[in-house]
């Protein structure tokens, strides 16, 4: 029998605007210095932009810092280290920022010559911040069947909001879907299964399909 949720799940969507800061880096030193100073919304933008803008390309470098140090400064090893930061392990922007800083500083200790490289003027790193607009949609789920049907229809922006933004930017610790499935439907197994998916290594459409598949398995026929 299909369990009816204690509380229904209201789907939200998140749309964003990119705000320019006028801050730019030409060298690794400047980049590091600004990474320490800019707002969390900047760090969030540069570690999550690729996910939404290049959703059809996979694999893609998951953050702009990694892409810039590798492709523009030619520091492939540091690029690889920054790409490999396991973003899903961090539950706040602050801790993610600290990891990026520590990884870069650690690399510079052994590779001080990397500080001598600089980007050409048209290839500087421009710091941008993400301004999010969170809007309730008209979609509400009362059980897993509703939930799966809605997942097929909503925008990837909505999936993105509940999986990435709620967990990391809003500091909820886990994604909204797992939270609801565990607390309102009492299905801890499915909740854990979803929270263990690494969404950073998939395209958003692939993530949608995977979620639907796992949820549909739990719906009695």
């Amino acid at each position: 029998m299909l369990i009816r949720a204690k509380e229904p799940f209201r789907f939200y969507t998140r749309l964003h605007l990119s705000e320019l800061t006028g801050l730019r880096a030409t060298t690794l030193d400047q980049l590091l210095d600004l990474i320490k100073k800019v707002s969390g919304s900047c760090i969030y933008h540069h570690t999550h932009r690729f996910l939404q803008q290049h959703q059809y390309l996979s694999p893609e470098p998951p953050n702009d810092f990694a892409y810039w140090v590798a492709e523009i400064l030619g520091e492939d090893e540091l690029g690889e280290r920054l790409v490999s930061i396991d973003t899903i392990q961090f539950s706040t922007i602050r801790s993610l920022r600290d990891k990026i800083v520590a990884t870069t500083e650690d690399y510079l200790k052994n590779n001080p010559k990397a500080l001598l490289k600089f980007a050409r003027s048209e290839e500087e790193f421009h710091f941008i911040k993400s301004v999010s607009f969170v809007i309730p949609t008209n979609y509400v789920a009362y059980d897993l069947r509703d939930f799966a049907e809605i997942l097929k229809k909503i925008t990837i922006d909505s999936i993105y909001f509940h999986i990435f933004e709620a967990r990391l930017r809003l500091g909820k610790g886990t994604n909204d879907f797992s939270n609801w499935i565990e607390n309102s439907l009492g299905d801890k197994e499915l909740a854990d299964e979803i929270s263990k998916l690494d969404p950073y290594t998939r395209t958003l459409e692939n993530l949608r399909e995977t979620l639907i598949r796992r949820i549909e398995k739990k719906i009695p026929t």
Binding site: T13, L15, H16, L17, S18, E19, L20, T21, G22, S39, S41, Q53, H54, Q55, Y56, L57, S121, E122, E124, H126, I128, K129, S130, V131, S132, F133, V134, I135, T137, N138, K153, I154, T155, D157, S158, R169, L170
Partner: protein
Amino acid sequence: MAKIEEYISIVGESVIDDLRLLAEKLKGKVIQHINSTPVGGGVAEILNCMVPLLRELGVDTRWDVIKGGEQFFEVTKKFHNALHGKVEEITQRDFEIFMETSRQNLENVNTYGDIVFVHDPQPIALIKEKSHNRWIWRCHIDVSNPNQKVWNFLKDFIITYDSAVFSAPSFSQRLPIRQFLISPSIDPLSDKNKELSQETIDSVLQKYNIPKDKPTITQISRFDRLKDPIGVIGVYQQVKRYIDCQLILAGGTATDDPEGLKVFEEVQEKAKQDRDIHILLLPQNDIEVNALQRASTVIIQKSIKEGFGLTVAEALWKAKPVVASNVGGIPLQIKHKYSGLLCHSIDGAAFAIKQLLNSPEYAKRLGENGREHIRNNFLLTRHLRDYILLFLSLYHEEDIVYL
């Protein structure tokens, strides 16, 4: 003109649902766009698409155009070139001419909007009319390396706006007001971008006596030095040494661009010995532009400076392989070797075109990736969404806004 529902088949229903949700949040606000020309050039083209669609979504949107004489537009053309970093002699008299026309426009243009959205430098001085309403300055120009004399003159106006909008990150400047990054877009249902039958494409080729028997390299652009049409002929000549191909250089001139005809004549002179170079001064005929792009083997956009370079998005939307300069907004549209090839010189562009003509499978893959990138990021529906969010941002200072 297409209706908003017609975009569902291209971007999906949920994208349009989101636009409707957002538009509701602007109920009661009047948005007033102001620019300098109703036709010709990218700004008028975007507004002609966007204004009716915003209205259909329920956003009360109006569009007014300032007036200016020949002298005024010659000065604003000089400003435009100088902001792009071209060496221009700007005199005190130029600033006076600009201000004289601005004063007349200040008297004649009623800035009634709750949000006044001013496009480019020509109407910038209207900000002097600012009262309790919100003002946005939209810069469509590549100002990554502007002439400081012109920039500082304009900056005095810009800093009195509530927000500024630029098309690429490298255009942003240190300013005391909020600045947003909004890329322009193309309309997939417009005459310039909609699907065309092979008969239509063939009829356009026949009209201009363009044979179909050899690969075609095309640049669609206004005849403007910043689009480097002479450089494009240089590229073609290098490719032609190895591959028998033809070149189409096609474009019109905007009403605010007095230099266009002069450049056109220079290009004609440069190409006159070669029957495989087709130089077409097109009237505003979007179907013909569309057909020429679709008939091309490779599209080139060898701009020296570029506000954004929408012709790149147009070509990619048609899944064409594109070779384009790494300037302005072009690198946002082309990720090198994934969705096109970027170049920095005539030699580099010629090499890239030879690669594409000799490797059609590679060219096809780049074109297909390019089309998906445009679908996700550069269609009119994304642009509508960004503009509505921009309007809403004027009433919210925070980084996470709950609507």
